[in-house]
Amino acid sequence: MSGEEVVSVDKDSEAIVRAILKMAEDRANAIRKEAEKRAKEIIESARREAEEILRSRRERAEREMREEIARKRSAAEVEANQIVLMTKSEMLREFFRRVHEKLAATADGQEPGWNYEEILTKYSLEGAKILGEKEVFLMGREKDGSLLEKVAKKLEKEGIKASVDKRTVPVIGGVVVRDSGDERRYYNTFDGRLRAYREAKEIELIGKLFEGV
């Protein structure tokens, strides 16, 4: 091999080596670039996931807070209704306690404007008429015995044979009229009248007591 040939071979090999190394470096750069691109995608994807997680957590927290607010508001409204209802109930109870008290005082002859004997007479006549009997027995409070005797005499004048039953009834006032065989009774007591009145009129009464508030 001549000197010229050696130089030529060296130049060729240098060019080939450079080309090989250049290709390797290009490939290495491409690998790095691809890795960086992939890394960027991974981070971006993680950021998107993180944003979604935070958004979802925020939404959940807000929903829970709204639910908590609704629960508290609803509980307050229930409590408020209870306060109002309990007051109405308390006042209604007091109202009927006073009615009861006044009826008892009427039966004891302590209410001016009311004649208990007349009331008993009216109720007894009413009872006898409704039973359609010519002979009746009158039952009332233990302390109404003598009053009922007087009522019985008044009934006699109306053509009705009336006697006072020895048995008494635990009522505020009024009378129970029965036939002679005690097969039929007519309850004309204050208690029964009040109960019937209350059943029929309580709603109207609540309106009158609390109207306008």
Partner: protein, 103 residues
């Protein structure tokens, strides 16, 4: 010629090393990114979430109950004023009305 072959083989060895190093670096870059991604997601899971208080519910609750208490007092006052005359009216209706009992 053997020198050329030798030079090429050397160069290919060097090229392989360059590529291997690049692959290792790529692997490390991706692993680091994955690690960072995990951290980002974990942080999102554990960061305390602040929600703006939309309404002052405690104040509203107190107002609702207070309003009911005021109404209750007004109900008591009005009912107490009307009670006496209404009691007389009801006693009269009970005693004189058609409320006779059952037979």
């Amino acid at each position: 010629m053997p020198r050329l072959v030798e030079a090429i083989m050397e160069a290919e060895k060097e090229a392989a090393k360059i590529i291997q190093e690049a692959e290792e670096e790529a692997k490390r870059i991706i692993e680091e990114a994955e690690e960072e991604a995990k951290k980002i997601v974990e942080e999102a899971k554990n960061t305390p979430v602040e929600v703006a208080v939309m309404e002052d519910i405690e104040r509203e609750v107190k107002e609702i109950v207070d309003r009911a208490k005021v109404k209750a007092e007004e109900l008591k006052r009005v009912a107490s004023e009307r009670m006496s005359s209404l009691v007389d009216e009801v006693v009269r209706e009970v005693l004189e009305g058609e409320w006779g009992g059952s037979s």
